[in-house]
């Protein structure tokens, strides 16, 4: 059980040979494991540009006007990680990313990072995102759970 900061330091160079991107017929692309991952292990950081959340809708408008798929993940009320132009493969993990993984905002040396952890042992070749739950990402599926923090869409 290494402390988070040490595990995070190892993550940067271990991610490349753990996570691969494949072309998925359902949601365009998904992530898969290039080597077996143990339960609770750090898999990848959702890396990107940390922007103030008041910039998100301006950027979303900008990206959609240029037909660029927008990939963002909220850290907290004030900051969002925008992985659209600068980021890593984790951008293809939709916000649920279950059942194999879960996302956590981890504070490492005073900076917040969105880290994807393995929920259980994931075998080599198995997919990391729950790929077949959602059709193509373009058409959003409205979520009717009514939960206070619901993100309104399933995908």
């Amino acid at each position: 059980e290494l402390p988070m900061a040490m595990r995070y330091r190892q993550l940067c160079d271990s991610t490349r040979d753990t996570v691969g991107v494949y072309r998925s017929p359902i949601s365009g692309r998904g992530l898969f494991c290039k080597r077996t991952v143990e339960a609770g292990q750090m898999v990848i950081e959702y890396a990107g540009q940390v922007i103030r959340s008041s910039l998100t809708d301006i950027r979303e408008r900008y990206y959609s006007s240029r037909g660029i798929g927008c990939y963002m993940f909220r850290i907290d009320d004030d900051f969002v990680v925008d992985a659209t132009m600068k980021g890593n493969a984790a951008r293809f993990i939709n916000h649920s990313c279950n059942p194999n993984c879960y996302s956590r905002v981890v504070d490492i040396l005073g900076k917040k990072h969105i880290i994807i952890f393995a929920l259980r042992k994931i075998l080599r070749g198995e997919e990391l995102t729950y790929d077949y739950k959602f059709p193509i990402e373009e058409d959003k599926i409205p979520c009717t759970c009514g939960a206070r923090r619901c993100r309104k869409y399933l995908n």
Partner: protein, 117 residues
């Protein structure tokens, strides 16, 4: 006396003890004054007493609905005058008004509101 409001501001801004200066380092956002006007013609003046290297500001009138996490004049609830290039902003559209202003300048900001509020 008209001061900078302690709570009517973006959360990443810090107000000085004398409540006459505001500092922020997380991008452009806004603080409102303690007093507001609702009708008639009003005028106030600001003297730029200090301008740290590379610091710029936008000063003017903002309504209660103006977005505090954006510069004044970003939306339709505010009108601002920028120190860099003296541009005036409303709904995020800049229009040239004057050369930029800097330390030592005194700005006069006037607003005309309809009498019947």
């Amino acid at each position: 006396a008209v001061l900078l409001a302690l709570h009517d501001r973006a959360q990443c801004l810090r107000i000085s003890d004398d409540r006459l200066s505001v500092t922020g380092d997380k991008g452009y956002c806004m603080v409102r004054a303690t007093h507001c006007v609702r009708r008639g013609t009003w005028y106030w003046e600001a003297t730029i007493t200090a301008q740290p290297e590379g610091a710029h500001c936008r000063i003017g009138w903002g309504g209660p609905l103006a977005n505090l996490n954006a510069p004044l004049g970003y939306d339709k609830f505010g009108y601002s005058w920028r120190s860099r290039k003296g541009t005036v902003f409303h709904e995020a559209r800049g229009r040239h008004l004057s050369p930029g202003y800097q330390q030592g300048d005194v700005l006069g900001i006037l607003i005309h509101l309809p009498e019947a509020a």
